[in-house]
Symmetry: C2
DNA sequence: AGAACAAAGTTGATGCTTCAACTATATGTC
DNA sequence: GACATATAGTTGAAGCATCAACTTTGTTCT
């Protein structure tokens, strides 16, 4: 059983700090400006980028990196706010589609600029292009080691 | 107002995925093996490394990267479990010290190996030394841009 | 076709986090 | 010295995440 070396600690600690602080900061911005969480935003924007603004719950969970249970609760809340609607999916009788409503699309469009700006301010602008690319490559590698493939839709953020 | 470029998205998405998945995975390990959260662990181990196993609430909050409110709740729970005790601090009449009890120290010692192993497995082992160092440097830089200095005590993890 | 098992989703309970409001002590200012 | 303001910390309420249990539908094997 080995502890972390001093060099490893010197990398690990700041990373843990980032893991705690960045989501808090991003959530605070979204909560304040739009009354939603980052996870809500991920779900809404994930749907907004999907063909027909529609995704099966399990696929949406994959793009949002969440459990199905978490997603189900969140979709219920988003549904109650009129931004998402559930539909029985075709084919597989178990499949449920989450569909982004027009109001939901509006919400994403209103929310995106502020959120993108926060991401820029808090993260992107503080790093060189090369560093940011390194960060992405490292994240990808770590996830790949756990068999996770990141889904990259083509949207604002 | 600018969106993220395609290269930036290609870095941002995996990073978001990591931000969501890694804490979940670490929390799951600690919850399963020790019945505590990662944040609990951070508080306990932070105290275990402090002189006299004692830190003022506000200092502890800084080392654990948390709000005072969150810390206060957590310390109350840890106190109820017999791992931490509150003491009136000397000097400043407002200062409260959190002190790690013997039982608390035992808990950290029992918990640390499994947690360190999880960190190794999930993160450290998947990266080269250089990559891991890069990750640390990047995290440090991002935090520094927000005026946050990371406190690095000398403990297992 | 029937039994066993797996996959998709939901639900309710429990515990954690956040926010705003509050108390108490310290510090600065006139 | 009194007043205003800032800092340290706590608390309760509301919202969110997680886990286990459950239902329903699909798949596999014989």
């Amino acid at each position: 059983m080995e502890w972390l070396s001093e060099q490893q600690q010197a990398a690990w600690r700041p990373f843990v700090a980032l893991l705690l602080r960045l989501p808090t900061a991003l959530d605070a911005q979204l909560q304040k400006d739009a009354g939603i969480t980052q996870f809500d935003y991920l779900v809404l924007s994930g749907l907004s980028e999907a063909p027909g603004r529609t995704l099966r719950m399990s696929e949406l969970a994959a793009t949002a990196n969440s459990s199905l249970s978490r997603l189900s609760h969140v979709v219920s809340r988003l549904e109650a706010r009129g931004w998402v609607r559930r539909e029985q999916g075709p084919g597989d009788g178990r499949g449920i589609n989450a569909v982004l409503t027009d109001a939901g699309l509006d919400k994403v469009r209103q929310t995106a600029p502020g959120h993108v700006e926060a991401v820029r301010e808090l993260l992107v602008s503080t790093l060189s292009d090369e560093e940011f690319a390194q960060l992405g490559a490292i994240a990808k590698k770590v996830l790949a080691a756990q068999g996770i493939k990141v889904i990259i839709p083509n949207g604002p953020c």
